[in-house]
Symmetry: C2
Subunit: 233 residues, 2 copies
């Protein structure tokens, strides 16, 4: 279900704002722009699928995607959500393994594809970029390790509280403290690693305890300190 609609406007495909590229010089940025291919993808589109070979990585300039693995009997485990400014697929690309996750659009998105050779060229010729890449990988590795400890030791309640706060940090809230990403209960469950019904029950508990307010998929934070304590972070 790959859905390309139109070639996005230049403003939508500007890569200069990406922290990821902060160590590239003008020539290199030029090459990047020359080699990139940008497209708009509608909600539901799959950018790449678990088990396939990648030809490059993607810069997300707009929209929201979920990155997930398919576990036992097809249950999806969401690894993370990505938004404009994020980079995806470089991990499997660099280790030259098959993709170990699937990336699916959940809010119409614009993505720029950068071919593998271009990335390799930058890494090989720009030590600062290469060093930056290493640092990014190391940081992600720490986050993954942190998450392992969390998920192994915390209860579902604690993990849900943590996930809500994590989403708040990544996607921010509006002036009324309403979380700026709308997920289904199932997606929340797949992130926490639990059953949909459990998420529903816990969310209503949080609501009764005046920690959050619910209106459909909109979540409004009422008492962040208590949530933070509950998540034990």
């Amino acid at each position: 279900m790959r859905n390309s609609l139109y070639a996005p406007t230049p403003e939508e495909t500007n890569l200069s704002g990406f922290k990821f590229f902060k160590h590239l010089n003008d020539t290199e940025i030029g090459k990047l722009n020359y080699d990139k291919t940008c497209q708009l993808y509608k909600k539901g589109s799959v950018i790449y699928r678990e088990g396939t070979r990648l030809t490059g990585f993607y810069c997300v300039t707009r929209g929201i995607l979920k990155i997930y693995k398919t576990g036992i009997d097809g249950k999806e485990q969401i690894i993370r959500f990505v938004k404009g400014g994020d980079i995806i697929a470089f991990r499997s690309l660099l280790s030259q393994e098959l993709a170990c996750t699937t990336a699916k659009v959940i809010d119409d998105a614009v993505l720029c594809h950068i071919p593998y050779p271009t990335l390799l060229f930058m890494l090989q010729n720009n030590w600062k970029f290469s060093h930056w890449m290493i640092q990014i990988l190391c940081r992600e590795l720490r986050e993954a390790n942190d998450y392992i400890t969390d998920i192994a030791q915390k209860t579902v309640r604690e993990r849900l509280a943590e996930v809500l706060l994590l989403l708040k940090d990544s996607f921010d809230v509006d002036e009324n403290n309403v979380l700026q990403i709308a997920l289904t209960r199932e997606e929340l469950a797949n992130m926490v690693g639990t059953a949909t019904e459990s998420v529903i029950r816990l969310l209503s508990e949080f609501k009764q305890d005046k920690l959050i307010e619910l209106k459909g998929r909109k979540i409004r934070f009422l008492d962040i300190p208590t949530l933070r304590r509950m998540a034990s972070i």
Copy 2:
């Protein structure tokens, strides 16, 4: 409880067998040997502790260590076990963060400390090494992601079966199929992310089901296919 006993013999501190250094030339290996500091550490020694700043990374030439994080109320979550030929501490070092894990010796070990500047020098001047580093990090990141899916979706029984097989792959078995690493029940539990009692009960179940044989801390594999099926891998 840092325990240095004696300067180990040259054979014990030979780094040329490390896959990690396979892309270094003779000059670079020479520098490595010049800059390294090797020591023997007794069981129980802590190489580095969570939250401290690292001055370099370590090559393990002999022995076994556990790498763990301290979670809620002091419960340790074992991230992995390392043995001769493995490298530790480079993740936090490269991201220039404080150590996020603790490394403790569980079988007398010889470790060589390589200062940070030496690593940085190699990375900066040897693209092949730097690229190799990136690939290692990417692979570890995939493993971490895999583990997250596992731990989030599998039951304790499945995870224990998986951990046993994982240990078998890392530490091998002798001619009688006896696992060549002896862990306490608590360490197994801290790896699986469960209570010690649960591990004990499940191990006896495995024993009753003729999947393994137990003699103290020695574990002998009897039926690996069934274990594998049980771990759903």
